[in-house]
């Protein structure tokens, strides 16, 4: 790991096809195909790790909020959990590390149906600011006729935690 926790891949001269120094610029190294593939593999691995971490953060914080609100929580497949609180309908929460999508709504709707609990509702939980009005309208249209919502994690915390 390097500074700020960024991953580093150490390269030797064997990984360099050739080097050029442009006028007034730094030395530029052109990597071999193998070396470039290694860098891309590392980028992919780190991105996958970060996505997993974000999901864990979302699910963990959500679980804390629900616990504080007195909900019983059961883990479900695919980064989701079922929460049951006295006086409230059972609710399936699915977390996403990206901006919520129609696919997320479909997934949480499937989990809600699989629960077999009458009146069970579903929510896609995120923590990103999505400024795509067209996507928001699409999600609203999908959820309009189903017991589904799209909710920001912070809003859930504000609502659930006294």
């Amino acid at each position: 790991m390097g500074r700020a926790g960024l991953a580093r891949a150490t390269m030797s001269q064997a990984h360099v096809l050739h080097s050029n120094r442009c006028a007034g610029l730094r030395l530029i190294h052109l990597l071999t195909d193998d070396a470039l593939a290694r860098v891309l593999d590392e980028v992919e691995l780190q991105a996958a790790r970060q996505l997993r971490r974000r999901r864990e953060q979302l699910l963990g914080s959500l679980s804390d909020f629900l616990f504080r609100a007195g909900a019983r929580r059961s883990p479900l497949e695919g980064w989701a959990l079922l929460a049951e609180r006295d006086g409230h309908p059972a609710k399936v929460y699915l977390v996403t590390p990206r901006a919520p999508s129609a696919r997320d709504l479909r997934a949480v709707d499937g989990l809600r149906e699989q629960s077999g609990i009458a009146d069970c509702v579903g929510a896609v939980v995120h923590d990103v600011a999505d400024r795509d009005a067209e996507r928001a309208a699409l999600l609203g249209w999908i959820a309009d006729t189903r017991p589904l919502t799209v909710e920001a994690l912070t809003e859930i915390g504000e609502e659930l935690v006294p």
């Binding site: 790991m1 390097g2 500074r3 700020a4 926790g5 960024l6 790790r49 970060q50 971490r53 974000r54 953060q57 979302l58 963990g60 914080s61 679980s63 804390d64 909020f65 923590d127 990103v128 600011a129 400024r131 994690l153 912070t154 915390g157 504000e158 935690v161």
Partner: protein, 203 residues
């Protein structure tokens, strides 16, 4: 803890953020740190504070400022970040820090250089810690500098709360934190911790 006796001010409430990534090779004497957790914690605290329309004030650490810019720009929160930087470092200020001011997300304030690096940092911290009537400060990760900031902040803002998160490790993990009900400073669920902190600060 925050209470109702705090003097009223026209300015939005202020929170100081003291955070940095421990550097490999220099961080052995502090608690093991997790860089990804540190970034998660900084992001969560910034989101929670800025969402409450409070000001978030910090020193211009080159690896922390880009995270703050990312949060502010993601949500379009403007004029709430204030970054203090010593003139000593003007020539090495990263572009993200300049962008804070240029794009209207925050303000970059330079403090004079008077001598050795330690003296310049003390001047910068002194100016930052006396710039507002702080509700509190949050300490995340870091090394010796975070301990210095904790001590000076405690001295100059004795009435403000201090939250030292231990989850991401670093020097902050060894600092005493404000004892506040419902705030679990050891938790690794940073969105939940951030909500607890902003509530404890009365934001």
């Amino acid at each position: 803890m925050s209470d109702d006796t705090r003097p009223m001010s026209d300015e939005p409430p202020a929170v100081f953020l003291s955070a940095s990534f421990p550097q490999p090779g220099r961080a052995e004497s502090f608690a093991h740190s997790d860089p990804a957790a540190l970034a998660d914690a900084v992001t969560a605290i910034a989101r929670a504070v800025l969402q409450r329309e409070a000001r978030l004030i910090c020193g211009g650490h080159p690896t922390i400022t880009p995270l703050l810019l990312y949060v502010a720009s993601e949500y379009g929160w403007r004029h709430q970040l204030i970054v203090y930087q010593s003139e000593r470092f003007r020539d090495v200020v990263p572009d993200e820090t300049w962008r804070l001011g240029r794009d209207g997300y925050g303000e970059l304030r330079f403090t004079p250089t008077i001598g050795e690096i330690g003296e310049d940092l003390r001047v910068m911290r002194h100016e930052a810690f006396t710039a507002a009537d702080y509700r509190g400060a949050v300490f995340i990760g870091g090394m010796e500098g975070i301990i210095d900031e904790y001590k000076l902040f405690s001295e100059l803002q004795p009435g403000a709360d201090r939250f030292a998160l231990s989850g991401p490790g670093g020097a902050a993990a060894e600092l005493p934190g404000t004892v506040a009900p419902n705030v679990d400073l050891a938790s690794r669920r940073y969105a939940a911790v951030a909500l607890e902190i902003v509530r404890a600060l009365g934001l």
